[in-house]
Symmetry: C2
């Protein structure tokens, strides 16, 4: 399917001259151009944005660059779409910054660009501006991608940490840990298969349904680096409230449980890129679950806990056997280059 044979990225592909032009024209634009990219302006002109905008950026350094369920390209699109969605915004436009290592096979780059195009089309976003740099062999690891994004805020009032109150419920859109463990497993050399794939996806369709809750939708976060544990501890710390979660309520696929035991990784600390944590007025949380009933991306959505006035800034987990333990903030050292 790919058409570049043995060709590899050379330093000249990043020099801004003829080779750069050919790379962009022949390998990138055929997949990504929807009108804005064709003339390669210094900046894209956006004429139809109305209302409040959300703006975000994310760099992706995941290793390996191809993993079950996705690759660095689809992950970059989803990651930025999801940051916008967590701002209550419909993702609209993306920028794409590529840092390529000399020697990267052009066929690999083509696969990644195709994957970006497919993910962007599915997420209904358009890549409107981009940049390509090349560094010498050994100065990067194959490919790093930065995507920034602009979305139009549809959740009003805008979701904000400051709106969280005691009694609010914490909704999780589905099982966690799949992305992080799929990537970790694809790094290791295992002799058996857990059948684990990344959950990478754009979660705007989930958020879009929750927007119907109006002011009862208080806050949104996608539990990426540091996983659900980092999201919970961050919400407790920033809101100044306590968070109580119920271990038995947190959905985990059996393959995630099995892989996490073998790898010695807490699945609550493993990154996700297709799930969302929503904070919802406690009286409206059942309505929220009803709104998600027909949403493929929210299979397994459930209420996992609530904000409480005591235990300020702490996350307390009710364990399966009826005890309590404190969920600590992940230190961040366990899972490098997971996104």
């Amino acid at each position: 399917m790919n058409s570049w044979g043995d060709e590899r990225i050379q330093l000249g592909h990043g020099g801004g001259g003829r080779m750069t032009g050919r790379l962009i024209r022949d390998l990138i634009l055929p997949y990504l151009d929807r009108g804005h990219l064709r003339i390669l302006p210094d900046a894209a002109l956006l004429t139809d944005l109305q209302g409040h905008l959300a703006y975000t950026t994310d760099s992706f350094v995941v290793s390996p660059i191809f993993f079950p369920g996705g690759d660095i390209g689809s992950l970059a699109v989803h990651g930025t779409c999801n940051d916008l969605a967590c701002g209550g915004a419909r993702p609209r436009f993306l920028s794409l910054g590529l840092i390529l290592e000399e020697g990267l096979p052009l066929n690999d780059l083509q696969t990644i660009i195709q994957s970006i195009a497919a993910a962007a089309e599915k997420a209904e976003v358009e890549v409107v501006t981009g940049d390509t740099k090349v560094v010498p062999k050994g100065s990067a690891d194959k490919i790093f991608i930065n995507t920034s994004g602009i979305g139009v805020v549809e959740a009003l009032p805008a979701p904000s940490m400051e709106r969280i109150e005691p009694g609010d419920h914490i909704l999780l859109s589905g099982p966690v840990g799949n992305h992080g463990l799929a990537v970790m497993l694809s790094r290791a050399e295992f002799s058996f298969d857990f059948n684990l794939v990344s959950d990478s996806a754009s979660i705007w369709p989930v958020v879009q349904r929750l927007v119907a809750l109006g002011p009862a939708l208080k806050f949104l976060r996608d539990p990426t680096r540091g996983g659900l544990a980092a999201t919970l501890t961050e919400m407790a710390s920033a809101s100044g409230l306590g968070v109580r979660v119920h271990e038995s309520a947190i959905p985990l696929d059996t393959s995630v449980v099995a892989a996490s035991e073998i790898l010695g990784i807490d699945p609550l600390q493993a990154a996700n890129e297709g799930k969302v944590v929503a904070v919802i007025d406690g009286e409206k949380s059942q309505e929220a679950l009803n709104l998600l009933r027909d949403c493929d991306l929210a299979l397994g959505a459930t209420i996992i806990g609530e904000f409480i006035p005591d235990r300020p800034k702490m996350v307390v987990m009710r364990t399966r056997i009826g005890g309590e333990r404190i969920v600590p903030e992940p230190s961040g050292e366990l899972l490098p280059r997971i996104c």
Copy 2:
């Protein structure tokens, strides 16, 4: 002045947990936060943007990361501001994506962040959203920076390659080659000093004055990678017209001429980040120069050539001795990692 002693970036600084939080809170926010960054939302909320927007992205991989006249941080701010300015837009908001190599001294990072803050303040832009990733030692080269930016278009009609016509003049805002040669010189080990500093700066003040020309301002481009030669050949190729430039009219500092002869680099192919090429209705080019008379960033602004109906897609240079030569598109292999 810097406060981090011997501390260096560790993998845990990129994990999204406690160490990431501390790095961002203690080393980044004190310099960059102007309100949007403090609560570290997934996406920044922009509520006061009206009109047509320009949107761009650029990754910076310059080596060395510190050079006379700037560093990778100030360069990243200027580069993105200048792409917006070339879209006829006043730069307003930036995103900042950092990819850090394990082992980077925190004092170096602090210097770069301070430099970003100073450049952003001078350019009157605000960093509103960011991301920090860490890769293992040997998987990157110290630090790579991606900045994307949003600006509000003030040049109406928007500058566009398609508006260029035969008879239009080509204005250059000042001497070229300084940035590229300053960076190349700082890589080499020379026993004497050319006193060459990068021209890195935000060129919006130049563009802002040219906006007063109205429709007579046809097109803008900042001659970065591939230098003035790449900008000229690109304009010829994309407009389908010929470009005639006058060698004697192209301003070059004597230090640039001297350094380019020693390094064997054509100064017209060396990158700039503080100059702009403007295409202006031939009858208004003197008015354009008058508008720039009081502008510090446009000292040495001059008309270097014009678009011609014959010689389609070619750049013809009238040499000092009265001959003609064709300016080829730079291949891009000569000057890696210049921005």
